[in-house]
Subunit: 223 residues, 2 copies
């Protein structure tokens, strides 16, 4: 990645919009992007107040989004963007490294999450990656994202109800919305046998109704 201050307008430039309340940082980003081949800064704003209008008009490829901004913050802006133009790749650019913000940003559709101490070269790389369908983030951020996923450990932990194979099978069918009769059909057993199995499942799960069993099964990933 080379910085180049003679910037030709190419058709393949990545069009970028920046949301950042700090004037110095905003200026730095402008200079960086203006001076880099393949990048085109088409807008830079202090907050997300006008985000809807701006995104629709400017049609950026990538948005670099600060989180902590006065009036209308970056998470709010992100959500609006993903509603109006879900194809836009939004990269969060912030000092926050807490699970809360990361989780909300990722769940709201951000594709990348960078910290402000990211060096300029890495920042340009990240924008390119975001534009190419990647999800740029540091490995410490990635670790936090992984912790949001269901892990094998959790699964093992919760499979401790020691359901038999048949019982698991029937619980699965139950979760999928099958009635006793449908389960009996699918398993080729009598409805009384289904009953019998389900009674044992309730015992093992310490529940007393289909609803509770289904909720527990889904929440604890027994299914």
């Amino acid at each position: 990645m080379t910085l180049n201050f003679i910037k030709p307008m190419t058709q393949t430039s990545i069009k970028i919009v920046v949301y950042e309340d700090n004037p110095d940082l905003r200026e730095s980003l402008s200079v960086l992007l203006a001076g880099s081949i393949g990048f085109e800064l088409i807008g830079a704003f202090v907050n997300c107040e006008q985000v809807a209008k701006q995104i629709v008009e400017l049609k950026p490829d990538v948005v670099l989004m600060d989180i902590d901004m006065p009036v209308a913050n970056g998470l709010k802006g992100l959500k609006i963007i993903k509603q109006l133009a879900p194809q836009v790749n939004v990269v969060m650019f912030t000092v926050f490294e807490d699970n809360e913000n990361i989780f909300e940003a990722i769940c709201s559709g951000a594709v990348g999450y960078l910290l402000k101490r990211t060096p300029p070269v890495k920042l340009l790389e990240a924008i390119q990656e975001a534009n190419n369908g990647g999800a740029p983030m540091t490995s410490s951020i990635a670790r936090k994202v992984l912790q949001m996923l269901p892990t094998q450990q959790k699964v093992t932990e919760n499979n401790d109800y020691k359901l038999t194979e048949r019982e698991s099978e029937i619980l699965n069918l139950l979760v999928k919305g099958n009635s006793y009769k449908m389960i009996a059909d699918k398993c080729s057993i009598s409805i009384d046998t289904v009953r019998s199995h389900i009674k044992k499942i309730y015992d093992k799960l310490h529940v007393h109704s289909q609803t509770e069993a289904v909720a527990k099964a889904i929440h604890e990933r027994i299914v």
Copy 2:
């Protein structure tokens, strides 16, 4: 990251075990790690047959794990490692880039996922990151991981059932395992009213039983 062929034994070296069936690649990795300060290759094996014994004896900090190996593959090995020694950081090192393998590896507790075409320098960086609590992966892998998370889009999309406030409240109580009678009590309304609300909920959700409603509610909505 510099390669250094005069390798002093420092106490802070990252202890690494490699599982890789290709002899050439295994040799390359050995040379790379042997020649790099801060890295100590303490074992290299062709498959995961003896993984349990090896991990317990060698106590590595980081494991570099191929997936496609004869007899005992890397995903199997990963699971055994995470059971016996969950503190070990396992980085998958493979040619596979499909969702299936990535998903299984991440859910089984792998902290990193690298492709075999990763350049040596990046590989060493990744091992360090894994050792320092990071989750090294390329941004394209990261994007795939993100897709495994529930997104705001999905939530918005599915909130489209337009339940009224009361209906949402009752659905929530249903999901928590309450019977009609219990809901009636908690909401201080008659059981017939509960019925009435639930009937409307079923209509809107296109389901015909508590079980289905609960499963649907949990899988794609509020709860």
